[in-house]
Symmetry: C2
Subunit: 213 residues, 2 copies
């Protein structure tokens, strides 16, 4: 019922209609939410709206992808890759920059990242050629990497991508691991699904390893 | 748990951080959604982003409120008020421009509108002085209006506003009605709440009135 309603929707001005269309291109935003955003922008002061528009333009003009890890950055090489205290021999492979932020927030990883820009998903038409797999292999070929940590989602697509990359880098004989799957900290066992619980038993960790040394 | 996480959030660039902050000011958008929007904008072409920024600026610079009905418009007097086939003697009072669009879509109202810009809500600090009630009274004082249709939400705040406006315009001795509350078309009686069902019996409509003449 929603679609025909908005096809007919008579915005009081072409300018409103255009702004609604621009906002509704954002992920998860329909015409109704877009209109709500537009009404909100209309209530703002002129300099606030100018600041918003400027932030958008600067985003596009000043942000590029780090040439080494494909994280977004305002420099050619991002701050993480540029930091001499980070171990370039240990590379964590992630889906996108949000994962970099999440892992950075743990404060426990001192290596570098490699942002794939997605995971293999035939349903969405994303194949290995759309990702930065070749660049990862090139990095390994240059003998720069000793260990790869795969930190992709625990989904079918994530596992497929894990396997594809594993096959690609197997010839180089370096350590490849995935992040541990298991019961989340604070979770009750009875609510965990069988696969997760099964894996957490299969890949149990010696208690002595978990003690703070 | 979410807030401290994002307080610590380490965006890889100040430009990203600024854009996330701008997007997160939109209603219902948190930092996580804002970051999703930012990543989406980054993937767009430069001219698409420029068009988005331009739409925002034009929105603020070219859109004003109609001097007669306070609907948004790109002219001083909006197309509805300017339309000679619309009956200026019948005025429908609504909360905001989204309600104008919704009523316009029915195609059944041929009068003009008066947009209040909100409803009385002490909780949100919105009093009668924040609304365009005075302008409505002025319109009535100029003998331009014969009938007022209150089309405000069927909430406590809506009813309060109805009553306030009714008291204000009672001295002018014009017809004041509210839109009918009742069972929505297509709804089953058993799922309707008591108040709505009670009202729909109390304010029943002669069947002969509903026949197409």
């Amino acid at each position: 019922m929603d679609l025909p309603y908005f096809y007919m929707m008579d915005f009081s001005s072409k300018i409103i209609e255009r702004a609604v269309n621009e906002f509704s291109q954002l992920p998860g935003v329909g015409k109704k939410t877009a209109l709500r955003f537009v009404l909100h922008v209309l209530k703002k002061d002129t300099d606030e709206v100018e600041s918003f528009a400027d932030a958008l333009l600067r985003l596009k003009n000043d942000i590029c992808f780090c040439k080494n890890c494909f994280n977004i950055s305002d420099k050619e090489i991002c701050d993480i890759c540029n930091n001499p205290s980070r171990d370039a021999k240990m590379v964590c492979v992630v889906q996108d920059i949000r994962d970099v932020m999440a892992i950075e927030n743990t404060g426990l990883f001192k290596g570098q990242y490699h942002v794939l820009g997605g995971i293999i998903s035939p349903m969405e038409g994303i194949g290995p050629s759309n990702l930065t797999v070749e660049q990862l292999v090139a990095k390994i070929q240059q003998n720069e990497v000793q260990e790869i940590i795969m930190a992709l989602p625990a989904t079918m697509e994530g596992e497929t991508t894990n396997f594809y990359i594993y096959k690609k880098i197997a010839p180089f004989n370096i350590k490849v691991s995935t992040i541990a799957r298991g019961i989340a900290v604070g979770d009750e066992l009875e609510y965990a699904d069988e696969v997760t619980l099964g894996r957490s038993i299969q890949f149990r960790v010696p208690y002595s390893n978990q003690l703070v040394k």
